[in-house]
């Protein structure tokens, strides 16, 4: 595994991705905010408006990265998907709601090719219901926020 002996700036990095003005698309940002509020030691939080090529650079100094984003795969809104990106490829069309060019799945695969994945990368996708203009989450997705936070916290115990 890459950089096993490397000193990392942060042990755990939470990255929320989304557009805060596109209803359920902001769920990744909200999960990251909630996790920041838990004040878990040795963690850092980042909120990104877009997932472009800077994503690889953002996670390079962390040992464990949790990434949160809305997805639209056609299942029940509020469904929580979890992927271990180190051991499995992310379905390429899964995180397809990107404004420009590269989806999260593509960036993860590019990083894998370039040997730039962090030692541990867990991706949470929350199935969205609405991506229209607005700042209010749908009730289904709002309920999923708590589930994701609990699930992440459980990974530490």
């Amino acid at each position: 595994m890459r950089r096993k002996t490397q000193n990392f700036k942060s042990e755990i990095l939470f990255i929320g991705i989304g557009n805060e003005y596109r209803t359920d698309d902001r769920v990744g940002l909200i999960v990251a905010q909630k996790l920041r509020e838990t004040r878990i030691p040795n963690t850092e939080t980042a909120e990104l408006m877009r997932n472009g090529t800077s994503l690889i650079d953002r996670w390079k100094d962390a040992r464990t990265v949790f990434l949160f984003d809305a997805v639209f795969s056609g299942v029940e809104p509020g469904t929580v998907h979890r992927f271990d990106a180190i051991t499995q490829a992310i379905p390429i069309n899964f995180f397809r709601y990107s404004t420009h060019t590269f989806s999260i799945a593509e960036m993860i695969e590019l990083a894998r090719t370039l040997n730039q994945l962090p030692p541990r990368l867990i991706v949470y996708g929350i199935e969205g219901k609405s991506f229209k203009m607005g700042t209010k989450l749908s009730s289904e997705v709002n309920r999923a926020v708590g589930k994701v936070v609990e699930s992440v916290l459980a990974e530490f115990h």
Binding site: T99, H100, F102, T113, L114
Partner: protein, 444 residues
């Protein structure tokens, strides 16, 4: 290598005389649209660049807003080139107010524009365009065989983003640009910190020019009318006259006398044409042809070293020209930083007056024109915005006609692939209004 391409292409009725190739979406462009090429009896009958994204009505929503809001509202038109929109907007509003911004504030505007060219061109050269020449379906596939090259592209783009973040406040839709200058100025120390990164980027850009010049290029050129800004002393970013290689030479405020936007039924984006002569070409290749002698000595030297002629007319070679412009942007950024002295005030204050203002700047993809009419309270009464991709639509169609005509012998899958490349030569930012491009060739 072409696995994903094959998935996007559907062959129908392969044994009959009528064949249709349909590509569900064209990858590696910014935006949504479609393309249909019709071939009958070995003749190209029709080419249409179809942009089907609903119009976004930015010009209408600007009406009634304050003149000071134009840079931030129009920056939202594009996530890749927001600086271009901000620059054209501030110049137009300053023109309306009768104020000219000079000195270090003007230099900082060039500096932030350098950042935008670096990040936008860096993305296109390495991630969107290079895979075409090397036969890969995407940069991800290319990275398997060329990891160091893709890494270099990512890092170059990142330095551009860092420059935009430093001057613009953030890399996405920067918020520090205002009419008259900036809200907050960078210190000399902050700029010096980024110069080390820029020096690395300049070396990487030289390598980029050398590398792109080695790519295989098809023989292809047309008698284009290139249109770009021209300034007596500078390679153009946000100042100069509008000039073409076929005699156009006008101040920005005469734009509407010479250019007109036409509606075509198959596109929600207007087609811009020169009234006198129809289609024209904007973008890096146009800038380069009109302004080669204004490139920095280093940039000219490297360009000559790799054998790129100053009057290049092959749009496939735009990948070299974009690389040349990345190099120029690095070199120019370092020059500006070296000469920087922090001004006393971040912006020139100005009062609105009832007037029409004209602004033009060179977005990464070409000339971007703004015109606003405001009243004495600074309320916007009327706005007109002409982005580069709208101007290049007709020339893209003409390229496709000529390219397909010259390559009818190619198998349809290969022809389709190369048609996509013809489109990507222009780095179309259809996402200024769209998100996908559907390509279809009908051959009878």
């Amino acid at each position: 290598m072409l696995t994903n391409f094959a998935k996007r292409v559907k062959f129908m009725n392969p044994d009959s005389r009528t064949r249709t190739i349909k590509v569900d979406y064209l990858a590696r462009v910014e935006g949504e649209g479609g393309m249909v090429v019709k071939i009958k009896n070995n003749t190209v009958k029709d080419v249409k660049l179809k942009i089907f994204e609903p119009p976004r009505f930015f010009e209408a929503l600007l009406r009634g807003r304050s003149f000071e809001e134009a840079p931030d509202i129009t920056a939202r038109i594009c996530g890749i080139c927001p600086i271009a929109y901000q620059m054209s907007a501030v110049h137009a509003m300053e023109d309306a107010c009768g104020i000219s911004v000079g000195g270090q504030l003007r230099a900082l505007r060039r500096l932030i524009y350098c950042g935008e060219w670096m990040e936008s061109h860096g993305l296109h050269v390495y991630m969107l365009h290079a895979p075409d020449f090397l036969g890969y379906d995407s940069a991800i596939h290319m990275a398997r065989d060329y990891p160091e090259i893709v890494q270099r592209g990512l890092q170059l783009k990142k330095v551009g983003n860092e420059l935009i973040t430093l001057l613009g406040g953030r890399e996405v839709h920067p918020i520090n640009v205002r009419i008259g200058g900036f809200y907050k100025l960078p210190t000399k120390q902050e700029l010096n910190l980024i110069s080390e990164r820029l020096k690395w980027a300049r070396e990487a850009a030289i390598e980029t020019v050398r590398w792109t010049a080695t790519l295989p290029f098809p023989e292809f050129e047309q008698d284009y009318e290139f249109v770009a800004m021209r300034h007596p002393e500078e390679y153009p970013f946000n100042d100069g006259r509008l000039v073409s290689n076929k005699g156009l030479d006008i101040p920005i405020n005469e734009y509407d006398n010479h250019f007109v936007e036409e509606h075509v039924p198959y596109s929600t984006a207007l087609h811009s044409v020169l009234k006198e002569r129809s289609s024209y070409y904007v973008g890096p290749l146009a800038r380069y042809n009109i302004n080669f002698v204004k490139l920095s000595p280093l940039t000219q030297e490297v360009t000559r070293d790799v054998g790129l002629e100053p009057d290049c007319r092959n749009p496939f070679k735009s990948i070299i020209v974009r690389s040349v412009e990345i190099l120029y942007a690095c070199d120019e950024a370092l020059r500006i930083i070296d000469e920087y002295e922090m001004p006393d005030t971040p912006a020139v204050e100005m009062e609105p007056r009832a007037a029409t203002g004209y602004g033009c700047s060179e977005a990464p993809r070409g000339m971007l024109y703004h015109r606003y009419r405001i009243n004495r309270n600074g309320e916007i009464l009327d706005a007109k915005i002409v982005p580069p991709t709208s101007q290049n639509q007709k020339i893209i169609e003409k390229d496709l006609i000529q390219f397909v005509t010259a390559h009818l012998e190619l198998p349809l899958d290969e022809l389709t692939w190369q048609c996509e490349q013809v489109i990507r030569n222009y780095d179309p930012c259809i996402s200024c209004s769209t998100h996908f491009l559907r390509l279809e060739i009908n051959k009878e």
